[in-house]
Amino acid sequence: MNRIDKKLNKEGKLLSIYFTAGYPDLNNTQEIIIKLEESGVDMIEIGLPFSDPLADGPTIQDSSTQAIKNGMNSNVLFDQLKDIRSKVSIPLIVMGYFNPILQYGVEAFCKKCSEAGIDGLIIPDLPINYFELKYKSIFKDYGLYNMFLIAPQTPEERIRHIDEISNGFIYMVSSSSVTGSKNTFDSDQLAYFKKIKEMNLSSKRIIGFGVGNKETYNTAVQYSKGAIIGSAFIKHLKLKGVNSINEFIKSIRK
């Protein structure tokens, strides 16, 4: 069974953390992953940086720009992840925009992910239909999940379709916004969370975008299996460094 499913089938709520690979320093990747697992996080999204991240706010834009400057790219990342499975058992997801993956070659990229023990990918700008048509079988061959997003304006029929074809979880974008732009939920968002919860989808949902502290995390998980924190974690890394990861996770969960 895929490690992601194992986590999703467990009792309790999940906390997933996104970080940009190659930030703050090029070679922080393993250390961040190990520390996140030690601090009790349930899943990790490793961000492959892209020069033009359309769905991201300033925090992830800046971390991406810095990571690229530091020398991060697909080859460096795969090299850093080579022996990661001898050190952690936590589900690992690579999240990145499509162009760097396309340049690497989708099949070659999947092969490398599989060899490194990656469990799935999230590619926000790869359209679902195009994925189904062109790449689905490659992902399957390499045992990788591809997780899809839904957003507040996604029509119900399309949500049903996404639910049907999803494996792993549905990444539920909390609001019509780019990452890191909000740190509270308003009544519209809560109504949207409730509406989706009441659709009784067969896939579990993890809420991301705008989750950044204990309050938003606790609210999000009332309506979902878990929540993803990205920008707030990156800000914390910038301010306090890699050694204070445990402190950040405790501030969310305890």
Partner: protein, 393 residues
């Protein structure tokens, strides 16, 4: 129809809509409605009336006698520089503002590099009385002060794009992010035949007025609708798409697209996408773009701010791949010289973008009877400072 967009939004291998899920409903709304709206009788009447009375169409097709003599063929200039706001850009913004009104949108956003599309957008927003927000790279705001002032006079708010390289591609990213944040109220007026489907097709359709007029005008002058050659400069490719549109399926009409080589193709300071580009995704479209081997997008360079886009529209990538269009790369130096030459030969000062198209004549050979139509895409007022500095005028 080999060169029309297909149902999935592709031109051959290029195009599509590679956008985050948050933008899916916006694009679906556009996709479902744009053809119906554009073909609607009332829309057409309103659009055509505005093109006539506000923009000043039809623009003349002018026989450039002295230039024809020099280059030994029959050269006609399609005078888009005579459009209100000084370039072809307004053909598209007039269309899109009318479309936005019919979709019930109350706020307009747009990206701009040199400020030409920003001015054309601010103009139609003033005309329609709709709120207008223009994204412009911080670097461009500094070097294009007159256009920033124009947009402000027209009532637009300018937001400085501070991310990445702080130029056109980053302004486009910021506009797309704004659209993600404001999906219901806002229409995004993209300025070229770039971006996710249906934008490339929609913008091409609004620019197609250029070639529609040429057919009639050329028939009056030459007894044929069809020239032998069409020449246009190309950044994203909107004026080129307009010039080619009605002729795409007619292989007897040859197409020459002139891109900016900057300081030279191998110089590291270039925008010659046809040579330096590789297939990839930029601003939601699969096309040819300048990028590193890791797939990071490279900042292009040209002395002309309207040509320094790191990609080309998917239609143009398809025209290149299928060999329907020939591409020529012109350096800053050649373009500036051609700008001066056309000014002296014909008494028309071209935008530096347009000057690239004229520079191509030095690298092409025509027969004496060949009819060559060049899209005179914009006038040179906005580039006067660059001309002054370059030639020490």
């Amino acid at each position: 129809m080999k060169y029309s967009v297909d149902k999935e939004g592709f031109y051959g291998n290029f195009g599509g809509a590679f956008v985050p899920e948050m933008l899916f409903p916006n694009l679906e709304e556009l996709e479902k409605n744009y053809n119906n709206i554009i073909n609607d009788k009332d829309f057409k009447t309103e659009y055509n009336n505005l093109l006539k009375d506000y923009v000043g169409r039809p623009t003349p097709l002018y026989f450039a006698e002295r230039m024809s003599e020099k280059y030994k063929c029959k050269i006609y200039l399609k005078r888009e520089d005579l459009c209100h706001t000084g370039a072809h850009k307004i053909n598209n913004t007039i269309g899109q503002i009318l479309l936005a009104k019919r979709l019930g949108k109350t706020r307009i956003i747009a990206e701009t590099g040199a400020g030409q599309h920003g001015v054309a957008t601010a103009t139609v927003c003033a005309l329609a009385g709709i709120e207008c927000v223009i994204y412009m790279g911080a670097v461009d705001i500094k070097r294009q002060a007159p256009n920033v002032a124009r947009m402000k006079m027209l009532g637009a708010s300018i937001i400085s794009a501070e991310s990445g390289s702080k130029t056109l591609k980053d302004a486009t990213n910021e506009a797309i992010r704004d659209w993600i944040n404001n999906p219901l109220t806002t229409h995004y007026i993209i300025g070229s035949v770039v971006g996710p489907h249906p934008y490339p097709d929609m913008v091409a359709k609004f620019q197609s007025i250029v070639s529609k007029e040429i057919k009639t005008q050329l028939y009056e002058k030459e007894g044929t609708e069809n020239p032998d050659y069409l020449i246009a400069n190309i950044g994203g490719g909107s004026n080129a798409a307009g010039l080619y549109y009605e002729y795409l399926e007619n292989d007897n009409v040859k197409i020459i697209s002139v891109e900016a080589a900057g300081e030279g193709i191998e110089s590291g300071k270039s925008a010659a996408t046809s040579v330096l580009g590789k297939v990839g995704i930029i601003h939601g479209s699969k096309t040819l773009l300048m990028q590193t081997t890791d797939g990071q997008i490279i900042e292009p360079y040209s002395i002309s701010a309207g040509l320094d886009y790191p990609g080309v529209g998917p239609l143009h990538a398809h025209l290149l791949e299928s060999k329907r269009a020939q591409f020529i790369s012109i350096t800053d130096q050649d373009a500036m010289k051609a700008g001066l030459e056309i000014s002296k030969l014909e008494g028309i000062i071209p935008a530096i973008e347009t000057a690239h198209a004229f520079a191509a004549f030095n690298y092409l050979e025509f027969k004496k009877d060949d009819i060559v139509v060049v899209n005179f895409s914009g006038r040179g007022d906005k580039d006067l400072n660059t001309y002054i500095e370059y030639f020490d005028l």
